[in-house]
Subunit: 258 residues, 2 copies
Amino acid sequence: MGTTQLGSVAEPKYWHLKTVLTEALDTDFSVGEILPNERDLAARFGVARATLRQALEQLELEGRLQRRRGVGTTVAPPRVGVAVPTARPDWTGAVGEDWQPVDCTATAVPAAVAKLLDLDIEAVEAGTPVHTVRRIRLSHGQPVAAELLYVPGSSVPDLSAIDAPAGPVRARSVLRELERVGLEGQDRAVELGSASADDAKELDRLPGAPVLVVTTRYFARGGTAAVSVATYRADTCRLTFGDSGAVEISHEQERRAS
Amino acid sequence: MGTTQLGSVAEPKYWHLKTVLTEALDTDFSVGEILPNERDLAARFGVARATLRQALEQLELEGRLQRRRGVGTTVAPPRVGVAVPTARPDWTGAVGEDWQPVDCTATAVPAAVAKLLDLDIEAVEAGTPVHTVRRIRLSHGQPVAAELLYVPGSSVPDLSAIDAPAGPVRARSVLRELERVGLEGQDRAVELGSASADDAKELDRLPGAPVLVVTTRYFARGGTAAVSVATYRADTCRLTFGDSGAVEISHEQERRAS
């Protein structure tokens, strides 16, 4: 990693340090390797620890480093490209085995979700059921996303009332009925967020970790049949969208391009 | 905002505090309002300043608060939904007037971009020109994204050599020629990143601020005709993708749904 001393530069010191560290990560370190501690690193580069910490935070945002309690700072593996499906979803998972239904409840729906579903707030308060399916998305065996899928009772009118009232069995029943709805389209939004306590637990992160929140509306019969709020790990995931098949931008190429 | 004291809870203290603060922002504060200082806030909620700071950081990630030097912490305006175009791009801006070309250079291209462009590294080193167009995207008059669009000389063979060698005029020439290419498709990736010094300046942020990096490959004639690396402000932007027209998920709905 050398003993480069940082001179005065026009850009913020931590930014320049970040550039120097990035080059060092590319050439001198391998994935999973533990970095020297902050005190040693700061001394090696001739910077204050606060400056070092800022640079490390940037590298964490960019997915180059992982900081874990009790382990220290390690060189992160390449981000995983996770395809966000833009075609008709396959709810029951014949293809998308990577989405695992873990629960289904009929608890109260946030007012905002009710609005996205074009539900009448009063109807919701009066007890119109909205099935809330919780799913976990796996990629290479690791959890990459936690999803809440809100399905109004009116979208799945033939759902049997004698099924299990909750749990994964119920979740599968709801998804099976949703599969029968002729979806007409969808739209989605992606934004930065922080992991809720529930999501953090599923994703093996601390609450508050940066996440990419993907909100999808599914349209059918001129209305909104379901709303999905999926929380993706921002440290390890790169969301991919393709209209030309499953062309995958490799991590190395993509990361350096940005 | 009351004087709620936080009792012991299973979830981390700052997470619970964040929930309490979120409710307070919804009910007691208006957009642009400056929050009390950290010392007062910490005292009011009966938490340590470190706990308060963690909660404020989460709210900043979620776009609820903005922290600016010299101003303090203010309640953020709703995030702006920014549509990521998934149809054939309109390079010359007859429709997309919100993309402003600001410069065009023919400097060296990062090896990673060369790979995305299927360019031969040796050809690049031998001087094959790649035009690098810099554009700024505005929304409601505010910069929301800074883009580098890489266009190999082979994609725009009829570009006149006697045009301006650089600058916005050159940028427009390159875009005009690119407009004539029959694009066959595109794919894109979205990931978390941190703003470079250049991007930060264009976006009125500090270097290292969290950004959403959108990398798009444009395909033509069986290859990659151009690569765009666009950096969106993560604090103020929500990226929207629609296949059902310009259906817009309103900020309020979307934010609370997540």
